[in-house]
Symmetry: C2
Subunit: 129 residues, 2 copies
DNA sequence: GCTATACTTGTATCATGGCGTCAGCACTCC
DNA sequence: GGAGTGCTGACGCCATGATACAAGTATAGC
């Protein structure tokens, strides 16, 4: 898996559901991947390094069990948070800060875009009972 | 509890660790709260409504078990994703899109700020073995 | 005070996921 | 080909959390 950045194409059914940009950007997979402190630490490490790192390197510098690091990095690569490139017997994982930042900015924009236009409940008055 | 205000002062060790803005903004609690599809749906609903909603309203419009909705909304309020206001016997939950958007933009900025300056591993060359 | 409403909390069940260990595969070097 | 290195996969243990149902609490209207 050279670059897990492109995810699988959605089924027509999914497309028809016409989820808002917000719903699409708030990807549970990605957020779940980020929500785990260990993974966040690894991602932070990779972002700070600013260069591709091998699993061994990351495990060394973060003092985390090797197999855990391998698993977490693979998880993050799977959801598109990291890119991975195998060279010989070594896998180089890299975090792309700019892409990640763009993703969050897009999400922020999508939130700003949301409004009563897409209302899921009818906009009756709140309770001044 | 004489002064709960002092309890936040970090230990020297913690201070020395000097977490970056990124580390602080990547709050696992918030991300975990967002990472759950049901909660994301409820948040989306509240954002779209653009007004405070009661638990009953949200449960109705999302067709989700009432007690689940109550719990999920309480969870999101606890981590700061929603604000809640109790009026009589009704609790009005509101999502603040702009605040949430700002939060994500700050996170994006923090990612851009990260760099080899904060490097956690030594920047030796990647593998051109 | 009684009842209905709106929400919270307790409990039980189940699924998910993190973790450590170990075996195995792929690759490189000798 | 054998040994060593780097990583992946499978397994079991355990903690967490999502869910559903039911009971409890708080408030409003009568």
């Amino acid at each position: 898996m050279a670059s897990a950045l492109q995810r699988s194409s959605p089924s027509p059914k999914q497309a028809l559901r016409r989820r808002s940009r917000f719903d699409r950007l708030l990807d549970p997979e990605v957020l779940k991947a980020l929500a785990e402190p260990t993974r966040a630490r690894l991602l932070s490490c990779l972002l700070k390094c600013g260069r591709p790192c091998s699993v061994t390197e990351v495990a060394d510098c973060c003092s985390i069990d090797f197999s855990m690091v391998a698993r977490h990095l693979a998880t993050m690569a799977r959801v598109g948070l990291l890119s991975s490139e195998k060279k010989g017997r070594t896998v180089w994982y890299a975090a792309h800060g700019s892409a990640l930042a763009t993703r969050f900015r897009d999400l922020a924009d999508a939130i700003d875009e949301l409004g009563p236009a897409d209302a899921c409940c009818d906009p009756s008055e709140p309770g001044d009972t």
